[in-house]
Symmetry: C2
Subunit: 271 residues, 2 copies
């Protein structure tokens, strides 16, 4: 089975056998598991390592001094806990697990070696970071300009698509470890209102949630309600025509090795 992170990166560059091999080795080096509600990074620290999520959910969040919490994004299988892999820098938000989580630990020097060994991977990392930032920008719109049911619909559709692209959602159903309180902090509403909003979507025949499994009954209607435009997720694999050379165009020292290209998949069909 392909590693979720490899699967995710291949959304952003056509990875050849060589790149996949190197990546596979690095990812297999140090597998760790964390309990639910475990803090991986604390705001303002400068992480000395990175984690690629293999299984389970985590989240990036910020706290206000009075205890209010805002979740910036959910981290799903295939996601990197710290999207900034280019320069060592302090991170501006904390990261905690929302379920028990399996990760592949990747040290900074490992990352550096990866990038040097495979220019395509560098390109993929950069695009991954861009898309992750794009997801967070879309969240601003979500909490700023959508009503609670629309916000929830948007979050669910986004999550469904992101999980599908790493093969973690079959038949529009997936494990959803986030509690109402977690959803509330992601949506900018209260847990009580999450409960009521969820019931409204349920009553409308759009979703079903039991035993921490979420079933999207009517994706179309959810998308309509949320005015969902999937382009910000960049799942369509366009813009990949000339991956390595595109990077080389602007980044000094990145040369294009175009051998051993395997065809890229287009994700969005059912897993």
């Amino acid at each position: 089975m392909t590693h979720a992170f490899t699967q995710r990166l291949s959304c952003f560059a056509r990875l050849g056998a060589q790149e996949c091999g190197v990546l596979h080795d690095v990812l297999g080096e140090s597998i760790r598991t964390f309990d639910t509600r475990h803090t991986l990074f604390v705001e303002h620290e400068t992480p000395r390592t990175n984690y690629a999520i293999v299984d389970g959910w985590a989240c990036r969040y910020k706290m206000l001094p009075d205890g209010r919490r805002q979740i910036l994004s959910f981290l799903l299988p295939g996601d990197l806990c710290n999207a900034n892999v280019l320069v060592p820098a302090e991170i501006d938000c904390s990261v905690s697990t929302l379920s028990s989580v399996t990760v592949a630990e990747i040290g900074h020097s490992r990352f550096s070696a990866l990038i040097k060994a495979a220019p395509r991977l560098f390109h993929a990392f950069v695009r991954y970071a861009l898309v992750h930032a794009s997801i967070e920008r879309e969240r601003i719109v979500n909490v700023g300009r959508r009503h609670a049911p629309e916000r929830m619909a948007h979050l669910f559709v986004e999550t469904l698509l992101r999980l599908k692209c790493v093969g973690r959602a079959s038949h529009d159903t997936f494990d959803m470890p986030a509690t109402h309180a977690d959803l509330a902090d992601a949506l900018g509403i209260t847990a009580v209102h999450v409960s009521r909003t969820l019931q409204a979507l349920r009553a409308g025949g759009m979703v079903e949630l039991e035993k921490r499994r979420l079933s999207i009954i009517d994706v179309d209607r959810l998308e309509q309600l949320a005015m969902f435009d999937p382009r910000y997720l960049q799942l369509a694999n366009d813009g990949m025509q000339d991956p390595a050379s595109a990077a080389a165009q602007l980044i000094p020292g990145i040369g294009g090795d175009t051998s051993a290209i395997v065809p890229a998949q287009t994700f969005r069909q059912d897993g």
Copy 2:
């Protein structure tokens, strides 16, 4: 007078005489002005050029199909309209001016040349992009977890600090071309409520606004109200100890030229 963009970049790397010179030349090449309410980039297009703002305000925003708008960030003098300078990619939000704006136009090839000629500039660009993303993340917290007066206080303090660091705010007072409608779309509230909230801050003796000039009367109380923590703006110039070599550590092909270093300023005192 130092160019606002040079001033901004020097927050992120100790720029030497050589870098400043190259930068100065590029910035002087093509100065343009745009009218107020002029759209510079449209969501989903792939820009072929970039603009560094010299004077005036612009904003990055997204529209929903029904006309709702969410402003993601204000672009102030010294800001880059498209923070992604590393790879050519479609942008996920539109950019429009909020006042008449003077910019320095910088083509992609120019940027590429800049980066190659001055590794320190590459480092500065990367950090600039990181900080801009950080500002947008803080906005999620603002609209998701703060009340209207807190949001407004936060936005005002942030803007004050950002303007100060490019010398555009003396005595805690600055030009504020954004209309109530613009502020509303940045804060995730309505224009009517902006009016009322503004009056509350005014009544509290914290700000004064007349003729499109905003005076921050009581910064401390605004910061307290907003629970403002300036660290996300990275104005303190720490983490600059070893700029070029820090980049070289992770990015292949970036070598460290440590000659001709001028001392970096710490911004936050009055301009």
